[in-house]
Symmetry: C2
Subunit: 406 residues, 2 copies
């Protein structure tokens, strides 16, 4: 029944793409910090950006550039967000696209740019230009090239994140692959995350955008690390059409198959990002079910996932379900503590006024020892549910964020 196959791969897995990741000393020497993804020809393209009103220069630039629906290259850098950099920052974003277009000999309107890192610093344009030039020289189609992109966009991520899926559409094998970076400031709607996805599906820009929005709703927008939303979040998808399927231009079976493959890639990346949340020691799925409405379920799950008290209790391996229920209580969702139940995985902690006794608490404590578990709140008020991927709040989160910058 499962038509989508998850395989190992990244931005170079789909046909028609080359990539490179190189070191340009944007912030630190000795690490990759400039990434480039280039298609053999202009692609169908779609992108989704941060909803933060303080949007970084590359986001402002890309919003315009992607409107044409055709893109051939994406340049990305870590180490500097090019955010809150005024008119000068916008010109830097524009100039970056021009440099890449010049090196590749393509129309600059076919180039997108992305940045992540410290806010309020201008891009070191000389080093970025050198990096872009170097990247163009280093382009290739191997898994090493894919991985180099995943590595070059990392900031406080401890691991590169890649995912790939294949699906057969109209007799043709279609591949969707990509990478992303986290790992703090992560919250719906997406935050300090960059995602780069490529596919060889033939699909119109409009349908590609629709598929991307649906996939993001089930993946990156279900991800909470600390509740901060960044100025730079962007997810890009380029479709080369090289798989040879009949172009997807409307809804239907072909579209659904493609959407599922894209969704699998996005969900895999989102889970990897939650696991690698800043300082995270635990990957936690928060599920609220039995809610009156989907909005209530999502609101309640998000509230728990963002609660510093719930998150520190997970770090402390403490089945403190009271903090979970309190966070549901202030979420705005309908809830009655006379009806609600709280579970950790399959073990109950609280059910309709009954409190876990010592024997039950001992079972819960074992679940809290695990690296991954699910917190389930059943409101018993309706049939709607929602899940959020998140992580705990650790001493290292504070270390990382007190020491980052300046």
């Amino acid at each position: 029944m499962q038509k989508v196959k998850c395989i190992k791969g990244g931005v170079c897995s789909a046909k028609g793409f080359k990539a490179a990741g190189v070191g340009a000393a944007i912030k630190y020497a000795g690490r990759k910090d400039v990434a480039l993804v280039v298609a053999d020809a202009p692609c169908s393209a779609a992108a989704v950006f941060t909803t933060n009103k303080v949007a970084a220069a590359p986001v402002l630039y890309d919003r315009m550039a992607v409107k044409g629906g055709r893109i051939q290259a994406i340049l990305a850098n870590s180490g500097c967000a090019n955010a809150c950099t005024g008119e000068g920052g916008l010109k830097d974003a524009e100039l970056s696209a021009l440099i890449v277009a010049g090196e590749l000999g393509i129309d600059p309107r076919l180039v997108l740019v992305a940045s992540t890192g410290v806010i309020g610093r201008r891009l070191p344009m000389d080093r970025l230009a050198a990096g872009a030039k170097e990247a163009v020289k280093s382009l290739g189609r191997t898994s090493t090239h894919s991985l180099a992109v995943a590595k070059a966009v990392m900031t406080t991520d401890t691991k590169p994140k890649e995912a790939c899926a294949t699906v057969v559409i109209g007799g043709k094998k279609v591949t969707v692959g990509g990478c992303s970076k986290g790992s703090g400031m992560i919250e719906p709607n997406m935050a300090t995350m960059l995602g780069f996805i490529t596919t060889d599906a033939a699909i119109s820009p409009a349908m590609l955008r629709r598929a991307l929005l649906l996939a993001i709703g089930k993946s990156f927008n279900r991800l909470v690390v600390d509740g901060d939303e960044s100025t730079n979040d962007s997810v890009f998808v380029l479709a080369s059409g090289k798989a040879g399927n009949a172009e997807i231009v409307r809804g239907g079976e072909d579209f659904d198959l493609f959407r599922q493959a894209l969704e699998e890639v996005c969900i895999s990346l989102a889970r990897q990002m939650a696991k690698d949340g800043e300082g995270a020691t635990k990957f936690v799925t928060v599920t609220v079910r039995g809610a009156k409405s989907e909005a209530d379920a999502a609101r309640a799950a998000r509230s728990v996932a963002k609660s510093p008290l719930a998150k520190t209790s997970w770090f402390g391996k403490d089945p403190n379900w009271g903090r979970v229920l309190a966070a549901v209580g202030y979420s705005g969702a309908e809830v009655s503590d006379m009806k609600a139940e709280v579970f950790y995985d399959d073990e109950w902690a609280f059910r309709r006024g009954e409190i876990a006794n010592e024997a039950q608490l001992a079972k819960l404590a074992k679940i809290l020892e695990k690296d991954e578990f699910e917190v389930v709140v059943d409101l018993h008020l309706g049939n709607c549910s929602s899940s959020i991927y998140t992580c705990d709040f650790s001493l290292d989160y504070v270390h990382i964020n007190a020491d980052y910058t300046t």
Copy 2:
């Protein structure tokens, strides 16, 4: 011009009140954990409670009890929140009021109860009853008795919090005094905070409630520690009428004077709570000015005060104004980073696209070394402003909340 005088004092400062704080081993032996405030006669009373839909049993009980507007005694305990305890918990709250009324020989409808501590545990009624009995025996009117109440309600607070103010109304000296406890889970609208305020003003219950709502809007509702809102928040005020002023039954000069005194007490307590936020090393006032609307200013200030990234940057003494501006950006308030300015105290960090240079950053770094400073965001879009009291997010916050309970 300043008609309100702030003096040293607490719940026993106003005429007509006795108090006690005793140890009853509710959770730990060897510390005070039961508090009692008793008026010589029934008082005008008002109270404001948590908006959390998962409200603790004492909150459910008090909401009904305070409707009559006349209260003579308040029993409080720390160590157990009596929250998520079902019907049994409600009966425990009711029984607690009955016990106190019995000991004092007053109508049980004149007694309020308050609890703070761990959620999801039943009150140890035998120990609470013994504590209440002991408290009645220990009642007195000295500053030691005031302080004993402030101490008995502490949970993770490191210091007792008291405040007092006097004002002359119609030729009569009126005193307002009280205490409160913080210190995590603190957020508008008030969270895990208990506040106990007494006054000898003569004032009707309706006007007392109006004054309390106004004062809370300028104090406890401007306080953010971690953004979690508790199930137990309550602020009580009892007015004995012993000052001998003409009873305040409507708005006007007398009401304004009283309101100002109450406000001073509440603001002082709120500031003490922010300073003693769980793990706090810095007291930070976040002010947003130049906003299009008051709602925008409040939303933006709150967003900064709740941002884990901004809070950890303060802990790290890092003038990371980009995180401040990013938090304003996702707050929902109107903002343009081309117009906005960010200051730490009087030093600018970012102004309309211009970024602090090294010399300016050095000045900012000195401000970040201080125990108290103000973060100011001027949006330059209008004339509205709002301030929030908050603190940084430290390693100790995580320690405290990972290790608390079980």
